[in-house]
């Protein structure tokens, strides 16, 4: 890294990490301490009460974490299940057709999905999917698919074609080629796509808000909005911040677990290197 880019990097890190740090501090202080002024303010008012409050609510906060994790896992799984074969198929099309389909997918990926949520609500009503936690995975997977297919298609395109040819000659059928040769090499791309889909599902608000009304089935964003709006007379900053921190933890864990996969370039050495 060059010397001049270091301050830039620190500035960028500060820019993106400051709000998180602020939330963390806020979550650990009493409501009174938040408005204290003066030099001694930082010495007092530290507390875990906010976390206690959030975790002992009714339903307890871990319930929302669980709900969001379930929906996230289901959406991610469903998306990958459909996107991987679709991406493979797309990559094997004639260039002209592939280009046209990719363009259509791009248009779908770019479409502001907020415009769809009323229509989706009608659909949920008609099909009786309201208040069914895992039903949320269907619109989430549907909305994530275009981008996921495009990302994975690009990853398939980066694999040398001769690898699959070699596997074909050795007698591997399509499924064996995917499982034994192509997917292991696509692991980094699959991991990063999975995280994108999971993040979308984790943060999604309008559909979750309209499809789910039972308190014990809420996902994180909706539950957190309820905490923030739970009192007419005061904004419960501390509790809200504690919920934010708790809600971010699973994502942090996920990125830590997969970071090696996301960063590594496994195709190295496939061809002359």
């Amino acid at each position: 890294m060059s010397r001049t880019s270091l301050p830039l990097l620190l500035a960028a890190l500060g820019w993106s990490l400051m709000p998180l740090l602020w939330q963390l501090l806020t979550s650990l202080r009493t409501a009174e301490a938040l408005v204290l002024q003066g030099a001694g303010a930082w010495l007092q008012g530290w507390t875990l009460d906010n976390y206690r409050l959030v975790l002992q609510g009714d339903p307890p906060f871990w319930r929302y974490l669980l709900n969001s994790s379930l929906v996230g896992a289901a959406s991610t799984g469903l998306t990958l299940l459909l996107a991987i074969p679709a991406a493979y198929g797309l990559q094997r099309q004639r260039p002209a057709l592939r280009g046209a389909l990719s363009l259509a997918l791009l248009a779908a990926a770019m479409f502001p999905y907020v415009l769809l949520f009323l229509a989706l609500l009608e659909l949920a009503r008609a099909l009786g999917w309201g208040n069914q936690l895992l039903a949320l995975a269907l619109p989430y997977a549907g909305l994530s698919l275009p981008l996921a297919v495009l990302l994975l298609r690009a990853a398939f395109a980066d694999l040398p074609e001769e690898l699959e040819d070699a596997a074909r000659l050795e007698g591997l059928n399509l499924w064996q080629r995917l499982r034994r040769v192509l997917l292991p090499l696509l692991a980094p791309a699959i991991a990063s796509t999975a995280i994108l889909v999971f993040l979308f599902s984790w943060n999604e608000y309008p559909i979750a808000l309209t499809w789910i009304s039972r308190a014990d089935l809420l996902t994180l964003p909706v539950a957190m909005a309820r905490i923030a709006g739970s009192s007419v007379y005061a904004v419960p900053y501390g509790a809200f911040a504690a919920a934010t921190v708790l809600g971010a933890l699973p994502l942090l864990a996920l990125v830590l677990v997969f970071q090696r996969q996301i960063v590594s370039g496994l195709t190295q050495g496939a061809v002359k290197g």
């Binding site: 040819d165 050795e170 007698g171 496994l266 496939a270």
Partner: protein, 328 residues
């Protein structure tokens, strides 16, 4: 062996859209014979290889292997092995796992898999590298692993796509005889594709020259060199290239640079333009009334002031000026 043993292509054709990549190729390769497909890029040699392997469908014609018609048989069931130009080793697997995958998928029992892999590792001197990943191997080692994988297929036909092109020149010279010995021992037809005539001559019993998807000539390297079917073959083979004399009356005459001789008198007067010393030989660029001539002679040969060249009539090749076919 019956007369149908080996590989037979009949009128093999590959068309993509309007373009004809391979036009009615007829070719026969015997068991144990090594054939080189030689030609400039885009001549149809890789197309031929992919058709034989079953990686691309044929638009017409037939492929018979040991009497079986395999034209429409899927690649995985042809028992054809191929060494790819990039070697196409599975980068996420160790050497042993690379070799084992195909055997495992084809249902070979574990004990036999181990035995056969040990055998081929010993044959190709790859012992000690079993657990390395392809990225941790040198170019020559990768080539040997790719070859080992192909041999484990127990192929009825072995295909090699530019097997030497990823190696440096010195290694190529060293590996060529080794590769040739290995392939000869195996006893199945071998076809290898190259654009390098030296490699073709060093590895192959016979050479098939392709241009524009059309087979120009098949024969031993000597036949191709001395009795080329047409002007394309004559020009494609030989370094430095054949001299083309100025066409006369619809006849194109051509002489190889080593067949030109310097004579004191009675020859074609030439002027020396450039002299290139090559160690054992020297290459002279000569200007004459019949056009630019290259002459290859002993490096010790003294050069006088007034140079004259001549050549024996039987060394001169004559081609039809319009069709390019050789005239007897």
């Amino acid at each position: 062996m019956s007369h149908t043993a080996g590989l037979h292509c009949e009128q093999l054709t590959r068309r993509v859209g309007e373009r004809c990549l391979l036009d009615r190729l007829n070719l026969a390769v015997e068991p144990g014979e090594s054939l080189a497909l030689l030609g400039p890029s885009g001549c149809g040699k890789t197309t031929t290889l992919r058709l034989l392997a079953g990686l691309d469908p044929a638009s017409g014609g037939r492929i018979r292997l040991d009497g079986d018609d395999i034209t429409t048989r899927p690649a995985g069931q042809r028992q054809v092995a191929m060494v790819f130009q990039s070697y196409a080793l599975y980068p996420h697997l160790s050497v042993v796992a690379n070799l084992e995958l195909g055997l495992e998928v084809r249902g070979v029992p574990a004990a036999e898999r181990r035995r056969r892999i040990a055998e081929v590792l010993a044959l190709l001197q790859l012992e000690g590298l079993e657990l390395r990943r392809p990225a941790q191997l040198s170019g020559g080692q990768r080539q040997r692993v790719a070859l080992a994988r192909a041999l484990l297929r127990q192929p009825r036909l072995m295909l090699l796509d530019e097997p030497m092109s990823n190696l440096d020149a010195q290694l190529r010279d060293q590996l060529r005889p080794e590769l040739r010995a290995l392939l000869q021992r195996a006893g199945h037809p071998v076809i290898h594709v190259t654009h390098d005539q030296q490699e073709a001559m060093g590895l192959a019993d016979r050479i098939a020259v392709l241009d524009g998807g059309v087979l120009q000539q098949v024969g031993t390297p000597q036949e191709l060199y001395h009795r080329p079917a047409n002007l394309f073959v004559a020009r494609f083979l030989g370094r430095p290239g054949i001299n083309l004399l100025r066409p006369e009356a619809g006849v194109q005459r051509a002489v190889r640079p080593e067949h030109l001789q310097l004579v004191p008198d009675g020859g074609l007067p030439v002027r020396l333009q450039q002299r290139e010393w090559q160690g054992a030989q020297q290459l002279l660029r000569l200007e004459s009334d019949l056009g630019l001539l290259l002459l290859l002679c002993d490096a010790a040969q003294p050069l006088g002031d007034a140079l004259q060249v001549q050549w024996r009539a039987e060394d001169e090749l004559r081609f039809d000026g319009s069709s390019g076919q050789r005239l007897e």
